[in-house]
Amino acid sequence: MKNKRWEVRLVGQGGQGLGLAGTVLAEAAIEDGNNAVINHFFGAQKRGGPSQADVIISTDEIDYPKVLQPDVLVIFSEEAFEECHQHLPEHGLVVVDTSHVRRALGGFPLVTAVPLSKLSEEATGSSLSANIVALGLVAERTKMVSRRALSQALRKLSPAGGLHANQTALKRGMEIAESLRTGGGGSGFGV
């Protein structure tokens, strides 16, 4: 990996496992021998409120610990999309979970639309691994962490009994990334 600072932001609702996904990503970076920072934010409401995980990965020291301009933004809920659709980053990867964000994305040409939850459900029988599907997708598209490190981090952090589903989800995410690459990126995946 070249000398680079990656900034990843996952936004959605409490309960979608964004903290876990971010931590897996950060741990994977550390596994790769890089630096990583993660910040996880909630709103005032403890459950059902907004949730955001920001991960910074760098080969260099990480001084400023907050996201300056995300290289990757994954949006997991309609509420979150409403919140941030007006200032989506112009460069980088923006993924929207179209299983939750129902609104037409025609006006957002730079958005990669992926039904993350649906894919998770198809692959694992539950929509709960949408976070990990996203992780696979992002990691494969950006290569900010190695496959080996990612699956190691996943093994370390998956809840008891949840590892298999997560591994499946991760693989599915990577496949999607692959298909996006080959099939041409941009908007409009399987919506």
């Binding site: 709103g43 005032a44 409401q45 403890k46 459950r47 059902g48 409120g49």
Partner: protein, 273 residues
């Protein structure tokens, strides 16, 4: 939100922008707020003459939602603020809503002193037996053995019996109910407001998130069922192990503000003489 007739409680709410509330799904604090509003309605009090004060905590967020004179004070001190306000405005009905930590941990001293002075306030303790807002630390009412973030091996301390403390300290009126018994709760609160002197109403309340999750107590519905099944009206001898609900203390003791007003009258008379 102007469909006033439909749900009279809405008349009392600050509907504009404030809802849905910050509370977690199934959190019982809103149910207590509903009971307070119904009590105020039942007593025909105007919104202007009611003040609702709170300390800090999930419970402390209550006043923001209701269209009385409202104050979110500091953690534990709401009764002291309320004492000052009541002395300045004896004509107002002042309701003070506090979490169990707020009222009995950091605020324990103000609680027993408000009771000792028997200040004409209505104190409602939303007892979810946990520090909800800070994520689930044990409180002075967490039952021995239960878990909290700061009692990973289970609480080793005794829990306060709020009602006994209030009684020993000197309160005129003490009652207990639960959020499951919401219909009885509003009546108890109304009696508390009507009572001269310091009234305490303890409300066992579900915190399905901070308490429920740490203690595998189930969701809000499960916790309400527990309240239903483990409490019983005061004096029910058939169910000895259960927590009594209803009016526990109701006695005539001089109220502080009333007495103070008499003092003023006599000091003035003396000063003139």
């Amino acid at each position: 939100m102007k469909k006033k007739a439909a749900i009279p409680e809405h008349d009392y709410l600050r509907t504009h922008k404030r809802f849905p509330s910050v509370w977690c799904p199934g959190c019982g604090i809103g149910t207590v707020l509903g009971a307070i509003i119904r009590a105020v309605q039942a007593l025909n009090l105007s919104k202007d003459e009611v003040a609702l004060l709170s300390g800090i905590g999930c419970t402390g967020r209550m006043p923001v939602y209701v269209d009385f004179n409202t104050m979110h004070t500091t953690h534990g001190r709401a009764l002291a603020f309320a004492t000052g306000l009541k002395l300045a405005r004896p004509d107002m009905e002042i309701i003070v809503v506090m979490g169990d930590g707020d009222a009995l941990a950091i605020g324990g001293n103000h609680f027993i002193h408000a009771a000792r002075r028997n200040v004409e306030l209505t104190a409602i303790v939303v007892n979810n037996r946990i520090y909800g807002m800070t994520g689930g630390q044990v409180s002075p009412t967490t039952p021995t053995g239960e878990r909290g973030l700061t009692a990973p091996f289970g609480q080793i301390e005794q829990a306060f019996d709020i009602a006994r403390m209030a009684e020993a300290a000197g309160a005129s009126f003490v009652a207990r109910s639960t959020t499951y018994h919401a219909m009885e709760l509003d009546r108890l609160i109304a009696r508390g407001i009507e009572k001269r002197g310091f009234s305490v109403i303890e409300v066992l309340t579900q915190c399905p998130v901070s308490y429920g999750e740490l203690n595998q107590a189930g969701d809000a519905v499960e916790m309400l069922k527990w309240f239903r099944d483990n409490t019983t009206p005061v004096g029910d001898r058939a169910a000895p192990g259960k927590i009594p609900r209803g009016v526990l203390v109701d006695r005539e003791l001089p109220g502080y503000v009333e007495t103070y007003q008499k003092l003023i009258a006599s000091a003035r008379k003396r000063a003139r003489a």
